[in-house]
Assembly symmetry: C2
Homo-oligomer: 411 residues x 2
Amino acid sequence: METIWQNVYAARARGMSSSVIRELLKLTEQPDFISFAGGLPAPEVFPVGQVRAAAERVLTEHGAQALQYSTTEGYRPLRELIASWMRDDPRHRLPACGVDNILITSGSQQALDLIGRMFIDPGDRVVVESPTYLGALQAWSAYSPQYITVPADDAGMVVEALEQALVERAPRARPKFIYIVPNFNNPTGRTLSLERRRKLIEIASRHGVPIVEDDPYGQLRFQGEALPSLVSLAAGRGPVNAAYHGNVIYLSTFSKILVPGLRLAWVCAEPEVIAMLTRGKQGADLHTATLSQMVAYEVAKDGFLRRHVEVIRRTYRERRDVMLSAMQEHFPPSARWNRPEGGMFLWCELAEGVDAAERLRAAVPKKVAFVPGAAFHPCGGGENTMRLNFSNAAPDKIREGIARLGEVLRA
Amino acid sequence: METIWQNVYAARARGMSSSVIRELLKLTEQPDFISFAGGLPAPEVFPVGQVRAAAERVLTEHGAQALQYSTTEGYRPLRELIASWMRDDPRHRLPACGVDNILITSGSQQALDLIGRMFIDPGDRVVVESPTYLGALQAWSAYSPQYITVPADDAGMVVEALEQALVERAPRARPKFIYIVPNFNNPTGRTLSLERRRKLIEIASRHGVPIVEDDPYGQLRFQGEALPSLVSLAAGRGPVNAAYHGNVIYLSTFSKILVPGLRLAWVCAEPEVIAMLTRGKQGADLHTATLSQMVAYEVAKDGFLRRHVEVIRRTYRERRDVMLSAMQEHFPPSARWNRPEGGMFLWCELAEGVDAAERLRAAVPKKVAFVPGAAFHPCGGGENTMRLNFSNAAPDKIREGIARLGEVLRA
């Protein structure tokens, strides 16, 4: 996820002057402004009552513990619950996953940061899709990697091009890892096909390059069939609870299935990697808020989230459909877009030569915004692309916002 | 603050084998073990009822907001409240301090990390006292600075030695900043004298080196007169609320005056520095848990903490006194220690040639622990010193633990 501020910083890095940005931001604060630029979940579906009841119970029954310092690895019952999800979820089926495979982080943003902190030395190569998730680039900018970009199409990263990129560079400069968002990618909403998943695992393993699988949206599939996670495809089959070992560092988060404001996410990786990241986290923030962890555990322990994600999926599916049909009605015929099977974003390509950043400048006075796609391309390109978020606005706002945007794009 | 794990990592870095450490740790889990090794506040004084009532109000009145993503800088009413403290607290008196001077961080540990992330390039020099706070060294290890250590005595950092260190190194290798814990220092409990504060500001300003003032314990003075903070001594006198500008980055935290488990601290610095650290925080964890921030604001907004710190001070003062009188009774005559006027730690020097780490190995089977002081010396030394925490154990436990420890030290 990112706030509008994150996109603003990215836009600045991509050449928009900060005075232009300040002006744009001031305009987005108007009450009838409709923004498709953020990456926020729908607050209407937050289970506020459950969280309130959980906080009440936690603070009544374990008040001192919930407010004291706790261990860097995270609240043990919550880690155990997550390990059980990784064992039982049909997308994962990691029978060996145990508590030593799980680290709680202060949002996935921190997991990305810790990976950079512990693994990236200045000048190290990191493979990313293009376009890719901005938050990862921002987390790693402190560690000065070089990016090898691999193009993506409707079936996700073009792994054949990855093979070539690795052959050209390795072994002199073998990348530290491959970073990928395989499900309902941010920014594009695209999903890596099963065939490519298998091929990616095979190529990465043959070249000895680990994979960072960032999966915030995997649970938000509202259409089509779930695909196995990379972490499961790469796993050796060990004894139950004996500890997962494998080539993948898997990240996911409570931000998209519960609420983001508690700042809770997790890493699943082999115990040695978890130990390294834990050492990094100790220097970064000591531990994640104890109260957040205990409240999330209290909400989640009896299977509430399994039912709750159904509500989220229904809500987002409706919003996606409203956005798609409004685009059909209002966008120029030269524009092309995809139909994501889940997640929070869709991706639109304008006619060759159209500058989406320039279109944004024209859109903001009409009280509608999106993120120009160039920001997500670490090595340039994508000037005629745009990312649209459909999770945060109500259906009638989506209709109205897309109509305004269509007017700008057709002008 | 640090957990026992932090001290363990430090001990490992200073040469204790991890199997020895694992064995020690297993022993500390015994029910009648008494540890003076941690840095935990007393959970008995946590205002659990206030926090619970605040959480209830926040989640009833602003549920969706408290659980949604929020801005990187922090919850604005909380930043405004802290700015008012910085204006009004007699230790600070920063009339110009406004909301743009304040960044909320996920504990002071994160503030230290962000300072490293934004200011330290590999090989940069950083001035620290010796001994100094371990958490700072751990935060910065990711950024590979070189440390210039300045000795300390009972009146804190020997600033005359600082002058010499700066003259010798500058201007070829001017340090990035000077790091200091001026009040009830961790690990020593020492406080920098007023005269040295003035001199430190003068020297730092003459050499053009900024200061990082880490002040987690400043409010925990239970004896003697409060001394002005470095940030206030270094401030130009600007118009009220117009924004503080000055040479000092000031850090403090809710961990010692409210509770640590919410992970809430703040930075007060000039707006340009706050903007830089905010950019760093965006890559590190996006923002601090919204619920934590809103709950802390709700608890603190009507002046509750002013009354509450009185309870903490009374409690810690009693525990310090109990520890001091037990040490008088049980410790060998060759040991020397100080009498801190506040905070959570005191510092003990054993006879020359006694190895405190070796004494710890003998103490643990007697079910008592402390931190050997060598761990806090980034460039070596201090083998015969130990840090004792007096905030976390109840008075009768302190008496019993010090009696056990005295036996080990006299053996």
